[in-house]
Symmetry: C2
Subunit: 364 residues, 2 copies
């Protein structure tokens, strides 16, 4: 057996997903056939690295990072530091930063591979999307972002394989937000009657299923970003996540209230709107769900409320699960369906770790 | 851009899956960044190849193979021929031959990578399983077999990723046979009452959903082979597909009748057995399904009839779809579920083509 190939790992972001990833990376470093040297790790306020690229110990790395006296580097400085490294580098971006995302073409052009759950790079402008894949293609660096849709669920790899093997994807449909899934499974359950809309939103926030300001979930943008990514992979040159119809569940009157708390306080005044929608669906024997869909032939992408039969897989979803259905020429009438937790630190980090393994296997 | 890397492709088997694969390979050869040279193709009675490894034209290759005057080579001769090839070789085994499967360690030891839907190699003796992966590990050749379970559905890649990223798979459960799925979705539908068991088996055979002799589906061995593969990937050293309980749906009295036709003719005499099972489930408000399950902690694998609530995803399956649920530590109470067509030439070939792409990306 030849000596293990050394690969340098640089990690930006040590929040919920970042901490889980660092823990998974420690496990992977013990099993991998490559020698994985963590040479850089940073969060918003601190960083850990050495000018000589000395490998950092994995043990208690999150605590060591929090206690570090080193300041984080600017993105250009990180590129400079990693470009001069004496081995191949994989950058793991566990932030949701647009700044870092905007620099992906620069990282990739320098031969630095990227794995990330950050949706911003792949759902921003179409030009950034093109620049990213063109830089990767030219330099041979790899870029994977499985966790940008459906967390660790094999959504992006499956769609890519359908396309790469020559299948024709005709339609993609599903529930792409754990928050929306939880809200509607409680608000309009298939059996029994759910609670009031505002009460369900409040409960979801208390359980940690929403962003600090729930409007960041209810505006539909998160789902629109995921649809943008899938539509582009299916071959549609979608310009941005705001270039197709996205239904916001924020009442117009509450769009500009100053805080999430004020929003939650005033939301009960608007419960009748959502109640009407629910009752209208019930009269047809259906339930309402917040879904995204892509009609590839018609080049239509949309995000919003739709009604489903109670026996439909989308209606029957549980907890905060995601479900994604791929309708293709080969699969015919019954779609290829992937379902399961689409949010959470551990499953999101798992998608990132899986991507890292794919890059390691492909680095020659 | 450097010149495209040339990779030699050798294909054994040109039946239902084989023909679909050859058609997908032709498409892939036009899109791949590697130069894919088809240097060998064979079926039971004929072959096409040249001593100088001249690339065969993809156009009408199935017809050319059928019309060929060249006789197929023995497995040792194929190994000899491919080992001397002046480029890296990927063998695509589209047969269900135990002989070819038994030779995988020899192919792999010579650096020949393998992609295949053939279940025999991975569900035969545990020694063969060990020999295959040990030969691959030593030589660096790759071996992928996504289509050996669930055809093109991402079942094996998902299970591998769960394991490789450090998740703990606790239980795997599902419907693993398109034939059994079709039979039970018709025999014991969630709404309405199904037909008689023997009539459903006859209909399934007429529609091409069963093997020529339906007993080859009803004995449960096909499902047992798939469970053997998944259990081994989950870490259980299952000795063989007959080393755990497998329920056969062939009445004892019909095990030894001479033909599939005679079997079908006599099956109505035994309808009461299956009818009793169905009625017993109905009394509990349930439906009966033929499933496989793996309890990793208890090291238990079993295949047979089980009862499910009508709202359970396994009960709600349609047509001849497969469904596979992975229960893991990270995914918690709600499993990661993959569902869709688990049989058919095009979707099976798609899994093989997807595996070939993975090998091409990893060949350095």
């Amino acid at each position: 057996m030849p000596a293990a190939k050394e690969v340098f790992i640089a990690v930006i972001g040590a929040g919920g997903v970042g901490k889980c990833f660092l823990s998974q990376l420690e496990g992977l470093s013990k099993r991998s056939s490559s020698k994985l040297s963590l040479i850089f790790v940073s969060r918003s306020k601190t960083a850990l690295y050495s000018p000589k690229y000395t490998a950092l110990p994995y043990d208690n790395i999150s605590t060591a990072l929090a206690d570090s006296k080193q300041e984080p580097l600017s993105v250009p400085k990180i590129i400079e530091y990693l470009s001069a490294a004496p081995a191949k580098v994989v950058l793991v971006d566990n932030t949701s930063s647009q700044d870092v995302a905007d620099a992906y073409p620069a990282f990739l052009a320098k031969g630095i591979s990227i794995v990330t759950p950050n949706k911003k790079a792949f759902s921003g402008s179409y030009k950034l999307w093109q620049d990213i894949f063109s830089a990767a293609s030219t330099s041979g660096a790899k870029v994977y972002h499985e966790s940008s849709v459906g967390a660790g669920l094999p959504v992006i790899s499956t769609l890519k394989e359908l396309v790469d093997t020559g299948d024709e994807v005709t339609r993609i449909e599903g529930v792409f937000s754990g928050t929306m899934s939880f809200l509607f499974n409680s608000f309009a359950p298939t059996e029994g009657s759910g609670g009031k809309w505002s009460a369900e939103v409040k409960k979801a926030k208390e359980l940690g299923y929403t962003e600090p300001d729930p409007r960041d979930d209810l505006n539909g943008l998160d789902v629109a970003r995921k649809l943008t990514i899938l539509a582009r992979l299916a071959g549609l040159p979608v310009e941005s996540p705001t270039s197709f119809p996205v239904q916001s569940l924020i009442p117009k009157e509450l769009e500009s209230v100053s805080s999430g708390d004020e929003f939650l306080q005033k939301l009960p005044e608007f419960d009748s709107q959502m109640e009407e929608t629910k009752v209208a669906a019930e009269k047809e024997g259906k339930v309402v769900r917040f879904v995204g869909s892509i009609d590839v032939a018609k080049k239509e992408v949309k995000v919003g409320l739709e009604k489903f039969d109670r026996s439909h897989p989308i209606a029957a979803l549980k907890g905060s699960d995601n479900i994604i259905s791929f309708y293709t020429k080969r699969y015919g009438a019954n779609p290829l369906i992937i379902q399961g937790a689409g949010a959470g630190g551990d499953v999101t980090a798992m998608g990132v770790t899986g991507d890292l393994i794919k890059v390691l296997e492909r680095l020659s």
